[in-house]
Symmetry: C2
């Protein structure tokens, strides 16, 4: 397809802090109508990711605190990467979103498999 890059389809990320509860994070995912929330520190630097899948896992395993379900080893994307490259990354790791960060680990946004699938439908 046309040379499309991450920065043309990334959108604003929903974020949370480590000291919040699973219930608060669940409410934010629902209010914002998304499946992914990026965990950040007070400088907006990425420290992890939590998804509706992780909250489902907490229910499956009877886990109560947010810190227990935060995923720390996060695959990310840079704004200037081609979409083919990030689509391959999603597929390789069987994940549905990549936080977009700059060289200082600051969160710039997020790109999801839903965003990429929209391109196939000619939505841009």
């Amino acid at each position: 397809g046309a040379a499309a890059f991450v920065d043309s389809i990334l959108h604003e990320a929903v974020t949370c802090q480590e000291n919040e509860t699973i219930e608060i994070v669940a409410k934010r995912l629902i209010t914002k109508n998304v499946n992914h929330i990026i965990v950040t520190d007070s400088d907006q630097k990425i420290t992890g990711i939590v998804t509706s899948w992780d909250i489902t896992k907490a229910i499956a395993n009877g886990v109560r605190t947010l810190k227990e379900i935060i995923v720390r080893r996060v695959y990310t994307a840079s704004p200037n990467e081609p979409l083919e490259v990030v689509a391959k990354r999603l597929a390789q790791h069987n994940i549905s979103a990549l936080p977009v960060i700059d060289e200082t680990q600051k969160v710039l946004g997020i790109i999801t498999s839903e965003d990429i699938a929209k391109l196939v439908g000619g939505n841009l």
Copy 2:
């Protein structure tokens, strides 16, 4: 892109029955490593869908039974539809999966935005 149709990328759907619990459904989503489960009757006909987003919503709202979170008005796909058409349907309704059914409402499989995004990465 090449003329691709739903039947070339659909995969087996994880299913459940109406009388199961939220916890059992959560465990199945995690064990199968997916976000969508299709609710079927004893003839494998579709009666609804539940996703990890719905389970997150149950946490956010303190809801306890599966029947309360099953989504009944389900958007679906047919095996012979072009991928562009189903990608547009996903985007239009802001959803991440379409159960694939035949003319008798029998579940043949499922297609997700992750499956479609893989095509952009040249995975097929």
